[in-house]
Amino acid sequence: MTINFNNVYLKVAATVAGKDEKEGSFGKLYDRTYDDYYTGCKTFEQSEMKMIDDSVTIALNKANLKIDNIDVIIGADLSNQVTANSYSSIKFNRPYIGLYNACASMCEEFIVGASLLQDEGIKNILLNVSSHNMTAERQFRNPVEYGCPKPKRSTFTVTGAASSIITNEKTNIKVSSVSIGTTTDLGVTDVYDMGSVMAPSAARTIYEHLTETNTTVDDYDLILTGDLGVYGKEILKEYMKETYDIDLKNKHEDSACIIYDRKNQPQVKAGGSGPACLALVTYCDVLNKMKNGKLKKVLLVATGALMSPTMNNQKLSIPSISHAVTLEVVK
């Protein structure tokens, strides 16, 4: 399901990131980085809230706006009850929507936000995504100090938060279309292998987006997926060819593969993950390149594994979802 928009623009974006991301590929591009997982707070969950707070403040400063100029805040993260964003929203004291589509949340926010902007009374929408390695680890896997050996196919949750403001005032970056993905399940049960879980849904969303917008891979300068990891990226390529007969050529990149310096950071294994992964790469690297004229049209595909430890214990396979957003440079 693809929706085209003619009045949705990206105004500003801000990013904050943790220490592993600071040592990664885009370390110098983040607006703020922290040197430890606590970021001066008592617990990891509260530290995630602080990161959201900081990225919102930076985004508002960049846009020269006050929080009261924001009509709606949309927040998403990985934790149960969308804890970090929901608890942060108390402080902002503005209308708030909390979303959950795991790591596909960033594009989900764009879908909801852009749709809301069709109402004339709504001008500015703040989109927040965050993830924290330690809160995710605690919730989905083991205690953080537990040193269970991780397989090569596992990914490493990104610690960071990203905020962006979308508006109906014209800027240089247009949100031209969005695609709502369909939940897909090809029977993968391995909780460490999120790349295999998510690749089919990413492929389906890319195929549907291309078909419904009458475009081909060549029309895009970059197709950026969320957090498939190095093996998931390969699987996506194979799957696209075999199922849809589409060659992604050299247009495809995966945020998980580039956010860290994988050679010097062996702990990240197959790459990054989490809703903040795609957001950090997009708002730092991709937006910069779009502003410099290196990229003109970019398809973002946020990939999410809708994994529940409970259902996994009940031996059900892991469903996944991917949503897509096209960003274009306009004059």
Binding site: N142, P143, E145, Y146, G147, P149, G195, P200, I235, E242
Partner: protein
């Protein structure tokens, strides 16, 4: 694409774990933990006039203490993940699992946090350890004369 064909593709691309290398690492590290235990037992027996039975109990307590302390100091998880199963299978792994759970839930209170979650990882080990001890105890009593 059906699930079977998809499994073929993922099996081709996703790398297998190096079981032999991991096994050898675990064997060597686990062996050193055993050696350390034996040294402690011998020292206790030889120098402190402790019976063999008491010496093994004290050795276990010492290993548990070392593993828990190292976990609390925050570097044991890195060692455990490098040593593969070498530090998890001996009693050090049990201590590490318990201590890490307790550290994780410390901020959620003594009862609802530490108390409720201390056995999060090790509960199954304790439960089935006790159950199997009963079963093998009965077998031993009935067939091997106690």
């Amino acid at each position: 694409m059906n699930k079977e064909r998809y499994k073929e593709i993922t099996n081709e691309i996703v790398p297998k774990e190096d079981k032999l290398k991991n096994g050898i690492t675990a064997f060597i590290v686990g062996g050193f933990v055993g050696l350390l235990g034996q040294i402690i037992v011998s020292v206790l027996e030889g120098n402190f006039d402790v019976t063999h039975k008491d010496a093994t109990s004290i050795m276990i307590i010492i290993l548990i203490f070392i593993a828990s302390l190292c976990t609390a100091l925050g570097f044991f998880d890195n060692l455990v993940s490098k040593a593969k199963a070498g530090l998890i299978v001996p009693i050090t792994g049990f201590a590490h699992a318990m201590t890490s759970s307790m550290i994780d839930y410390k901020k959620e209170g003594l009862i609802t946090g530490i108390g409720a979650n201390a056995f999060k990882l090790t509960g199954s080990v304790i439960l089935y350890g006790v159950v199997s001890a009963y079963i093998f105890g009965i077998i031993r009593y009935l067939f091997f004369g106690g």
